[in-house]
């Protein structure tokens, strides 16, 4: 029983019994590959899944043993803690509220993000996956530069530096990608598509805002350094 795993590569349906039918590439499901190594789901995948589950439980249990879930004093509608913070995943939004009118920060921007996420797979530019500078065109560079500058100015008008700074950095990086030489250490930068640039921009902003909201905001939503004692309010 010491024979190594034998991978059967064959188009013979009898030798590859999991493949019930062959379908054409333009149909569904899109199963194209015939030249890959296959292994039995049991035990290879199942065991990994079990281990994954166990590891997740172990990590969470250790967290549960070491750190108690927060529980403050009973809710008191007349005593507002300062600052009153939403759960951490909403703190980016709450931070936005600091800069923009409530309608913009609380409704327009989240709704925009939600819509954007939903429509991603239905946009051609997302599906093509061509690097940003792959197809040179006359209007592309000026349009991107204009967008970055306009967005920067727009957000700067609200003094929303946590958005302006990432915007400028991403903008600079986009043009830097244009300049990278193929074959160098930075080649991957050239391969980044426009949707990826936008998503990165969004993620960086979300992370920056959330981190600021979580750690750098004290009483009255004023700026505090997390390693200093926050003044009691």
């Amino acid at each position: 029983m010491t024979t190594p795993i034998e991978i059967i590569e064959s188009d013979d349906p009898l030798a590859n019994p999991w493949r019930v039918a062959l379908v054409r590439p333009d149909g569904r499901p899109a199963v194209h590959e015939t030249d890959e190594r296959y292994v039995m789901t049991f035990p290879h995948l199942i065991l990994r899944e079990i281990i994954l589950f166990q590891v997740v439980v172990i990590v969470l249990s250790l967290a549960a043993i070491l750190f108690n879930a927060p529980l403050e004093s009973i809710a008191n509608p007349v005593e507002t803690p300062n600052p009153a913070k939403a759960p951490w995943y909403f703190l980016g939004l709450q931070e936005l509220l600091h800069y923009f009118p409530p309608v913009v920060a609380g409704v327009v921007l989240p709704a925009l993000v939600g819509i954007c996420l939903v429509v991603i797979p239905y946009w051609r530019v997302n599906l093509e996956g061509a690097p940003l500078w792959a197809a040179p065109s006359r209007w592309k560079a000026p349009a991107i530069a204009a967008s970055v500058i306009l967005l920067s100015i727009l957000f700067a008008a609200f003094s929303c530096w946590p958005i302006v700074i990432p915007t400028v950095i991403i903008g600079v990086a986009m043009f830097a990608a244009h300049a990278v030489r193929p074959g160098g250490r930075w080649q991957w930068l050239w391969g980044v598509t426009l949707p990826e640039w936008i998503m990165t921009w969004f993620v960086v902003i979300a992370v920056v805002l959330t981190v600021i909201g979580t750690f750098f905001r004290g009483p009255g939503w004023s700026w505090v350094w997390p390693w200093m004692d926050a003044p009691r309010g």
């Binding site: 899109a30 296959y38 789901t41 939403a86 759960p87 797979p121 599906l127």
Partner: protein, 245 residues
Amino acid sequence: MTVGEWVRNTSVYRSVIRHGIAPTNRNRSLIIFENLFLHVHPVKVREKTLRFTHTFWLGGITLASTIILVATGILLMFYYHPSVPQAYRDMKELQYVVDNGVFLRNLHRWSAHLMVFSAFLHMLRVFYHRAYRPPRQFNWVVGVVLLLLTLLLSYTGYLLPWDQLAFWGVSVGTNMAKQAPLVGERVRFFLLGGNIVSENALLRFYVLHCVVLPVALLLLISVHIWRVRKDGGVQGPPDDERRSL
């Protein structure tokens, strides 16, 4: 004959598990397709999808934390009364009286954070691996809705301990919802069952957290996972440009 063998020879055992235990490919295949839950898997998988960097197992982590959340959540419900001030006192009871209560509550809380976090990372992974492309467009949308549901679940659960953190977190959150033009006020009114965060709000959040949202989540998770299989299994990094349309 060992006890194990005897058990495996009983007709009851054989009515439930129809395959042998010898490590043959046939038995291993039967394990998969004779099991409702494993049936979502194919009998064989592409070896490279097992690589860690293929998916970073982020969907699996999210699912694992969901399972933990359901299990611990059901147990916690046994000791929870959605009323003021008993809800808060129940937290203390879990901590001081109920055996392992504080462990389960911690586990539930941290799993919830992990679920939000890993679901978000999962979405990013799928995006950067361009795994939303056809035929997976619909599953991407399902995933976005799942992320939203995850956030809502975490948020509704946030109020249930009825402590200062919960109360003011939810007050701030629902006031953000109030900003929506036209419907904002109504949405908040319906969500809270009133104009203030009160016992009504606690009950509504409880029902949403324990019934409405979990049912929706589990249904959509089934769709999501089923579609993973139907759309050709997990999709890793787009190294294979043949597949781009």
